[in-house]
């Protein structure tokens, strides 16, 4: 009786562990989500700074934070086992987004409004409609 109970406990834990292990597709999706989230965070910080809605210090620090998070994500990427094509794509995308966040941070620190306007307009905008539909908000 007791061994059976133990067996079912072990089975439960094993199945939980199996759920915990991420598939390759999940891993890629997670990296994409992190990148897009910080890209949009930078864009939001820049746009709100232009509207004078957030103080300089907050905008600068958030952009710096975005850059740091993107860097740590690309470091995490090098430790993972992913198909080399995907790996190259993710690395490239991460470095573009990170460079943009760095440039935006410099422009905010220099209070260069024209540069910030240009960069915010250039950075891709999230597709609000599809996101809202996805989350069943509209």
């Amino acid at each position: 009786m007791l061994t059976r109970w133990r067996m079912s406990c072990a089975a439960l834990i094993l199945s939980l562990l199996a759920c915990g292990g991420k598939s390759v597709a999940d891993q890629i999706a997670e990296h994409d989500r992190v990148r897009v989230s910080w890209e949009q965070t930078s864009r939001f910080a820049g746009a709100e700074w232009l509207d004078l809605a957030v103080p300089d210090a907050y905008a600068a620090r958030t952009l710096q934070r975005a850059s740091e998070e993107l860097r740590s994500d690309s470091e995490a990427l090098t430790r993972e086992q992913l198909p080399s094509r995907e790996l190259a794509r993710l690395h490239a995308a991460l470095s573009i987004v990170r460079a943009r966040a760095d440039a935006l941070a410099r422009a905010v620190r220099a209070r260069d409004r024209d540069a910030v306007i240009r960069m915010v307009n250039e950075s891709p905008r999230a597709n609000a409609d599809s996101l809202l539909r996805q989350a069943a908000l509209r």
Binding site: S37, L52, V54, L137, R138
Partner: protein, 404 residues
């Protein structure tokens, strides 16, 4: 007329004191990641809290005993040590996350990123406890806490689709990222059910010398107060959903939450958010430090009250001082504040049975509550929600730890 005033005051106190860093951070994260889908977790947590707060008030009114003292008397000292140790350590951890929230608020307002905000905040809280009285602290914290109503204003300005929001009040399976979904659900329930509130509430009821005639008043204030408080958490979730989802922003770090009101109120929104966060966290810190002191002092039969000079309640004062120091120490070490908040809220869910099951037994013991014992509805509802939170926590906490 006096009763009405009492009820109103009680409700205002609960609303102003409801929101703290746990419910704010978890609701914001849930809204940003899953839209309205996790509203059910707030609803369940709030329903459970309404029953529990009403019970702790009723226990104090009928037995004239605060919760911690009654627990030791009913279950004996060896068993009592389990909730005592678990809830004290948890209190220090939750206090550390409140300090993280307060530090962020100070950083947002001043623009200065400063590792010593946490000990400074802890010192300010200590000073208030050292010099203030219970009614000043309780009423002051909750009056200032009414600033959190800014989230309700924001919701109405955003014109959410109420029918879709209502759909979120029913539990549903996640459409993406299941691990994250369940972990946030657990954290939300832990943040809503916050057991330290029960020790605080029952101690307050004993200090105010409630008796059996206060039972109906307690029922009304606990229900309405916690209901409106829960509405605040819902407001945070809805605002986060409508601000962050269309922008594709997921909340990974605490400071990402800060501009959640700026699209609606511009620069005012930024500072109102900082003020709401800071005040909510500061108020919660006072409550948590006092709750741990109540728990220990009542459990060991020491003199306890917030209305005496510290030298007249020496050990009681020492406990809240030590609790604040403990929280500040974790704050100085500089763990990521959002991570510590989510983890301490999830841990709260996992530890709920330790605090709640003995409490339920107490509430069904005529020796303590006489004819004012629990009905089957409150027993069933609380048991079911606590069991759900516990099971989800036990499953999702290890997974979250492995994932990160």
């Amino acid at each position: 007329m006096k009763k009405l005033l009492e009820i109103t005051l009680g409700i205002v106190t609960s609303i102003g004191g409801f929101l703290e860093v746990g419910s704010l951070a978890t609701s914001a994260q849930a809204g940003a990641a899953f839209g309205y889908q996790l509203l059910w977790a707030i609803v369940l947590g709030t329903v459970c809290l309404i029953f529990l707060v009403e019970m702790s008030g009723r226990l104090a009114a009928v037995s004239k005993q605060p919760l911690a003292g009654a627990m030791r008397e009913r279950f004996g000292y060896p068993f009592f040590l389990i909730p005592l140790v678990a809830m004290s350590l948890l209190g220090v951890l939750v206090l550390a996350s409140e300090l993280g929230g307060l530090s962020l608020a100070l950083q947002l307002v001043t623009g200065i990123s400063f590792p010593w905000w946490a000990p400074l905040g802890a010192f300010a809280a200590w000073l208030l406890l050292w010099k203030g009285t219970f009614s000043v602290i309780e009423k002051g914290a909750s009056l200032f806490g009414l600033i959190t109503l800014v989230f309700v204003v924001a919701v109405f300005r955003l014109h959410p689709d109420w029918t879709r929001a209502a759909a979120g009040a029913l539990p549903s399976m996640p459409r993406h990222e299941p691990m994250r979904y369940w972990f946030i659900a657990v954290s939300i329930m832990g943040a809503s059910i916050a057991p330290y509130l029960l020790y605080f509430y029952s101690a307050g009821a004993v200090e105010d010398k409630w008796n059996e005639t206060d039972v109906p008043v307690n029922r009304v204030t606990a229900t309405l107060g916690m209901l409106f408080g829960g509405a605040l958490s819902i407001a945070v979730l809805v605002v986060a959903a409508l601000v962050f989802v269309p922008r594709g922003i997921r909340i990974e770090r605490f400071d990402q939450i800060a501009p959640m009101l700026t699209p609606i109120m511009s620069r005012w929104g930024f500072f109102l958010f900082a003020a709401a966060l800071g005040i909510a966290c500061f108020g919660a810190m006072l409550e948590i430090a006092l709750s741990v002191a109540y728990l220990v002092a009542q459990g060991f039969g020491w003199k306890w009250t917030e209305d005496a000079r510290p030298r007249d309640v020496a050990r009681f004062s020492l406990v809240y001082t030590a609790t604040l120091i403990g929280g500040a120490l974790i704050g100085i070490v500089g763990v990521d504040p959002l991570a510590i908040t989510l983890m301490s809220m999830a841990l709260t869910s996992a530890l709920l049975p330790i605090a709640i099951v003995p409490f339920l037994i107490l509430m069904n013991d005529p020796h303590f509550v006489g004819k004012h014992g629990n009905g089957w509805i409150s027993n069933t509802v609380v048991c079911a929600i606590v069991a759900l939170a516990f099971v989800l926590a036990v499953v999702s906490i290890p997974l979250e730890l492995m994932g990160s």
